[in-house]
Structures are given as C-alpha cells and as structure tokens.
C-alpha cells in the first residue's frame, strides 16, 4: 500500500491558511506533507494519485454536534454506522453528545466511546461530556476527570440546564478546566408538550408550538451568566432571529461566546411539517420535520444566514440525530425529535452557495477552521491543510447534482425531511488521517 497520496489538480480551499488556488496536495504517513503547484510535488514517485481536477479540495469537515447513540440506543445508530455516515458526509472529526445510556458523565463512559471509535477507526470521534451527573441538572460532573479522559466540551444537550444556579456553577467550574460549556437553550416551561414552532402552522394544525421566546430567554440567561463568570459559552443549534441578535450584542460586548447553526435551520421552515413536495393536495404532519429546536420561519432563516456571514454564528453543526422508523412512524405529537443529518448536510448547505447567500470559502470555514478553534489544539491542529497536520481532507464537486435518498444512507437513521431533495454539490472523497474513508461511486 502506498504510504503517500497525491491529490492532484484540485481547487484547494483552506480558509485557515487563506488558500484558494489550483494546487497539488501530498499526503505522507497520515499527515499533510506539502501543498504546491501542480506537478511540482517532491518525491512522490510511489504515491497513489487522486485526480481532483474540477473538484474542490478542502480540510475535512468537523462536526461539533452529533448524536451517535452508543452506548444505549444502538437500534438508532452505533459509533460504527455513525462514523460511516459522517465520512459519507465529508466529516473527518465529529463531536458526539453525551445523551446516551448511560450518559457520558464519567471517565469510564468516555473511555468506552473513545475505544469503540478507535476500533471502528473511520473518523475522529471526540466526545462531549455531561455538565451534570446523569444529565439531571442537579450536580456537576467531575469535569477535570472528564477533561482528562478526553472530552472537548460539556453539555447536557437535549435537556437544558434549567436551574440558573446550576448553570452558573457549571460556568464557574469549567473556567478552571478550560473547556467550553455547550447549552441547548430552551425554557422547558414554555415548551411542555410542544412539538413544533409556535406560529401560523401550529395554529392551523392544532399542535402546541414552541415559541421563539423559549430559546431566546435561555440564550439571554446564558449570556448573562457567561458575563458573570467569564466562561466560554457555546450556544448549540441557534434557530431564531432573536437569538442571533442576542449573540451579536454579546459578541460586541466582548464576551467569549460562540454559536452554531444546523443545515436544516438554515434551509427549511416550519411549513415543511405541513407540506411535502410530493403531496400538494393534502396537508401532512411530517414527523421527519419534527426537530428540536423546531424549524422556524423565513425571517429566522434570513437572520441566521446573515449571522453566519457576519461571524455572529461561528459554526455549522449537523445535530445529526438518528432515530428508528418506529420512533418516527407514529402520531406527530408522539414522534421523536431529530433529523439524521450527516449525509445531507453538505448538499443542503451548498444551496446557500448556489443562491449567493454564502460564499463557498465562507461555508468551508464554518465547517473546518471555525469549529477547530472551538475544539482547540489538544487533538492537534484541526481544520486546516497546513503541512505537518493530520491529513483530514474532503473532496467535493460543487456543481454535481444528486437526489437525496434515505434508503442510501449508511446511517441507521433514515429520518430526514430532505428525502427526494435534489442537491447541487456532492462529496466525492473523504480522507481521514491519510486514509480514504469514503469514495463516491
């Protein structure tokens, strides 16, 4: 097996190094060895050559927010199937949320995930540890211990930390540990039994809605507490215009706050719950569009895109949330929240580029160097093609059309509102630590 890989003639875009040019990229022993003019790579006689002409070559995508479901919910996803799905989506590093069973609130559970991911060996899996024991919101986890075990952040994702006191303590304590707190911002008193955005669609369908205020109240609270503590706060899956505005003001005030948005919140509205493209005659209650936070409005999408452009929102993260068919093939109010997102993320995001809402370089930056900054350098320098770094590379065709089909998903979760969507922009190859982990057929 060749130990070198030469990716030849692609348009190399690496926002971390401000590179955007047609170039060759040489990978040796799992690391980026060299970037330079086409045909000028040093001593690559024995290397395997990948012809990337007409394609974009960029750092492997990093996902700050996904659910791999293992341990505990292996019928929804495993570390193996989730890793494969991530590779198919162009991701080479993924941060998995701790709402497993048992939750990732101890060194041993973190060890389990890391060992299982290494055994699978497809993409780099970096666990996020719980903020509170058992995600119960009552007692802090042993954060120093978890940090030593290798977590990159703390979150009780799925269950917001309701108590302001507990969140304040978590922020204070995390300061010493030096890792960020990621919060799923939701005032659950305002969202009890609710299952979609509160708006005209929920009024029409007779469903209880989650008001935007339920998210914004917690974003405001967390920002206020972050100001008090000086802690690093990362707001997960921002979905409302009001949240974007709160984060904008917090950043202007100089707080150490970062934020992420998902591909589905950038591209779909609440109306997707009610209308499927293939059934115009009748309304629907599409459980594949049931997600938390819920799909919002056109106005929210505009604010989120604007927030991305201005750097108010730092990162795009999938919130990949796979579920079984049974979890979704039921009454809307009883269905599980979540979208299986790895394999449609890039395709759906490219629509923003083709519609001139986002620059290609900007999109890549939100998927590479920006999440890498939040993770830090503990796992080496990520999100860039700098020589000497881990060779995580994604190659895609920006104009190639394809149709999303959940039957093709390698993820166990076929729960996607994008089924049948025609996307322009397709992942061609994913290389993690120098190994080809996905190649398009």
């Amino acid at each position: 097996m060749a130990t070198s890989l030469l990716i030849s003639g692609g348009r190399v875009i690496d926002p971390g190094q401000r590179i955007d040019k047609v170039a060759d990229l040489l990978i040796t022993k799992g690391k980026v060895a060299w970037i330079g003019e086409k045909g000028a790579a040093p001593s690559h006689a024995d290397s395997k050559v990948v012809d990337a002409s007409g394609l974009v070559v960029c750092p492997g995508f990093i996902d700050l927010h996904c659910h791999l479901r293992e341990p505990g919910f292996e019928d929804k996803e495993t570390i193996n199937t989730g890793s494969q799905a991530a590779a198919r989506g162009g991701f080479t590093t993924i941060c998995c949320m701790p709402n497993t069973n048992p939750p990732l609130d101890s060194q041993s559970s973190i060890d389990y995930v890391k060992k299982a991911a290494q055994a699978v060996g497809i993409v780099q899996v970096l666990p996020v540890g719980c903020i509170t024991k058992g995600r119960q919101g009552k007692e802090l986890t042993e954060m120093y211990d978890l940090a030593e075990a290798g977590v990159v952040a703390f979150s009780d994702d799925g269950s917001p930390v309701s108590s302001s006191r507990m969140m304040s303590l978590a922020m204070d304590y995390s300061l010493g540990v030096g890792l960020p707190i990621i919060d799923h911002c939701e005032d659950t008193q305002l969202t009890e039994d609710a299952c979609m955005n509160e708006g005209w669609v929920s009024a029409r369908l007779g469903l209880k809605g989650m008001p935007a205020a339920a998210e914004e109240l917690m974003v405001a609270r967390d920002i206020t507490l972050a100001q008090l503590s000086g802690a690093r706060l990362h707001i997960a899956h921002v979905s409302t215009a009001g949240s974007v505005e709160l984060i904008r003001r917090a950043k202007e005030a100089g707080l150490k706050i970062t934020a992420e948005v998902t591909p589905h919140h950038l591209t779909l509205t609440e109306e997707r719950v009610m209308s499927k493209s293939d059934d115009n005659e009748r309304i629907s209650y599409d459980t594949n569009a049931k997600v938390n936070p819920p799909l919002r409005t056109r106005r929210d999408i505009e604010a989120l895109v604007q927030g991305l452009k201005e750097g108010v929102i730092d990162v795009i993260a999938t919130d990949h949330a796979p579920h079984t068919l049974a979890d979704k093939a039921c009454e809307f109010g009883l269905a599980a929240f979540g979208i299986s997102g790895f394999e449609t993320a890039f395709g759906s995001l490219m629509s923003l580029v083709h519609e001139d809402k986002l620059k290609l370089e900007g999109l890549i930056s939100k998927l590479t160097i920006e999440p890498a900054r939040i993770i830090g350098t503990r796992y080496g320098e990520l999100g860039t093609l700098k020589p000497g770094t881990r060779a995580d590379v994604t190659i895609f065709a920006s104009n190639k059309e394809w149709t999303a089909d959940s039957r093709d998903f390698v993820s166990k979760g076929k729960n996607t509102p994008f089924d049948g969507s025609v996307f322009k922009g397709k992942i061609q190859m994913t290389i993690a630590a120098g190994q080809v982990v996905y190649k398009s057929q």
Partner: protein, 336 residues
C-alpha cells in the same frame, strides 16, 4: 332482523341522489380544508334525504349492506361515537366498535399496526377519533380503507362542522353573509378549526372569541396566510355576539383552569358565559349552538341552553343524518 332488512330493500331510496363524481372526490374525510362549497352543498343535500329516511317508521336503507364500518376511538366519546354507529346501522352496514382509549397504547401496539389489523379484518370505512392532532393523516398512508376523522386532537372535527352548518342552514335558510360567533376555548378546539374552513367556504363570517390564553398567538397570521378573510378575532364576548346570527359556544375543559390558562371559572363565567343579556345583543332570532357536552352554567346559562333559541338537541339529531351522508358518499366516492 332479516324481514326488516328485506323490507328495507323494497323501500327504494329514490330520494338519495347518486354521488356525482364531478363534485365528490373524497375517499376520506379528514377536515373541511379541502372541501369545496359544492362538496359541502352535496353533503347537506344528501343529509336532507337521510333525514327523510330517519323520519320513516323503519329507519333503515340497504345502501351500505355488506360494507363494514369500524369505529376506532382512542379517546372517550359518547355522542359522536353513538351518532356514527347509528348512522352506519341505518345504512345497513356491519359495524364494529373498538375502544382503544384504554387498551392499545398500554399494549404497545402502534397506531399503524392497529389500523392494518382492522383493515385485515375487512374494514371498508374506519371512523377514527384520536387525541393526537394529525393521527388520521397518518392513517391514510397506512391503510386502503376510507378514513373518516371523528376528531383529532385540537385539529379537526369535520362531521361536527358539517352538522353545525346543516343546522344553521335548516333554520336560517342560508349561510351566506351570516355572522357566526364561536366563543370559548378556541386554542384547543377541533370544532372551531373545522368550522372556520366549513363556514367560510359557505360564505359565512366567523368571529372567534375567547380569553387570549385560549386563542393561539398566531391565529391571525394563520387566517391571513390561508386567506380566511371572513374570520376575525375578538376578546370581548359582547363585540363577538353583537348582531350575530349564530352564537356557538365551545366546551370548556376543566383542566384549562387547573393548568393555569384561566384564573378561575368564576371569572370565565363573568366574562364569557352566554347570558340572556348578552344574547340580546345578537340578532333577534339568533341560534344558540354547542357541540356538547355542555357544562351548564359555565359556557352558557341554563335558561339559554334550554331556551327558545337553543338548537343544541337538534344538532345531535342532525348529526346522524350528516354522518349517514358522509358514510354514503365515502363508500361511493373517488380517490382523493
């Protein structure tokens, strides 16, 4: 039994117009949002014929003989269920009633599995009541049987809205430009939602009235986006009732007060009960309606509930005719 049925055979239901394929396109009845005015008119017209059947000594026609109608109720109900079952029996259908409000969920059987089982038993029409909005929309994807929505969560109750429209028209002779005030818990009301679609299709003006905690926050944008221009929203019952042709009261669930949406029943009664004084603001012969069951002395004062303007019992009687019409149309209708 046999003799009754064979005698029913000889009673030709010649008064039943055949469902016109050009007008009737529904193999399911889920809500009135996809009903044209012509389709509603057809239901009313057939209900008239059914009412004639109900007036006969032998209230039975053989129209649905050999068809099986299953009522599948995931929520307690007395009148709607009895009404559908009588309607089906009057049309000579075989009926099976399944009370799923206790058994199925605890047994862990999914709705889809229950529906497929019922289909396998040979159900031609499934009349379904469910506490979750949208449940019948799931059902139509799971089975080939016709689905009639007998109420889903807060969403829709089309047969109720049709019997309301039928009752209004039989009293007032028309629906065009009538003012219908719907008062009470709009937020949680499938009756109100279906009536919004049905009444506006029939040219009526609808005023929704209730305390703001019982009105969806985005009701106004729903009305605007769906171009339901004949519908407005009022907080004060006096404004809603003023010059109304019909005052329709909604049942107040006691849990609304317990969950904090209302400070007290006392204040609800003070602000929203239809009293003689408030009814006097409406047109002189305004109808008083209620989908039932009534909390007497809460939504409406007893003297009004049982007074000359009340058509509440008639609504129940008309319900059977409307449901006979729906079963008849659905059994012969085309796919939609």
């Amino acid at each position: 039994m046999r003799t009754i049925e064979s005698s029913a055979d000889t009673v030709t239901p010649d008064s039943l117009p055949p469902p016109s394929a050009a007008v009737w396109q529904h193999s399911h009845v889920l809500d009135l949002d996809d009903f044209s005015r012509e389709e509603i008119e057809l239901v009313l017209e057939i209900a008239d014929s059914m009412k004639e059947v109900l007036g006969r000594e032998v209230k039975r026609v053989p129209t649905l003989r050999g068809k099986t109608v299953v009522t599948l109720f995931y929520e307690a109900s007395t009148r709607t269920r009895a009404s559908f079952e009588l309607a089906a029996k009057n049309l000579s259908a075989d009926t099976v009633s399944i009370d799923a409000s206790k058994s199925s969920v605890t047994k862990g059987e999914s709705l889809a599995d229950s529906l497929r089982t019922i289909q396998a038993l040979g159900a031609d029409i499934i009349v379904m009541r469910h506490s979750q909005s949208g449940a019948p929309y799931l059902a139509v994807h799971e089975v080939n049987s016709s689905i009639i929505n007998a109420g889903d969560g807060w969403h829709a109750h089309p047969s109720q809205a049709l019997l309301d429209i039928y009752t209004i028209r039989s009293h007032l002779g028309k629906t065009q430009n009538l003012k219908v005030a719907i008062v009470g818990d709009i937020m949680h009301s499938r009756v109100a939602r279906s009536n919004i679609w049905g009444l506006t299709s029939m040219g009526a003006k609808v005023v929704l009235c209730g305390p703001s905690t019982l009105l969806p926050r985005d009701m106004d944008s729903f009305l605007k986006i769906c171009e339901l221009n004949g519908v407005s929203i009022e907080n004060k019952i006096e404004s809603a009732v003023e010059n109304a042709d019909v005052v329709m009261l909604l049942r107040l669930q006691m849990e609304r007060q317990q969950s904090g949406l209302l400070p007290s029943l006392r204040e609800y009664i003070q602000q929203y009960q239809l009293t003689a004084q408030r009814l006097s603001l409406a047109r002189p012969k305004a109808l008083v309606m209620h989908p039932g069951p009534i909390n007497e002395g809460i939504e409406v004062s007893p003297e009004i509930a049982h007074g000359a303007q009340s058509v509440i019992e008639e609504q129940v009687a008309n319900g059977v005719a409307i449901r006979m019409a729906l079963l008849y149309l659905v059994a012969g209708g085309k796919n939609k």
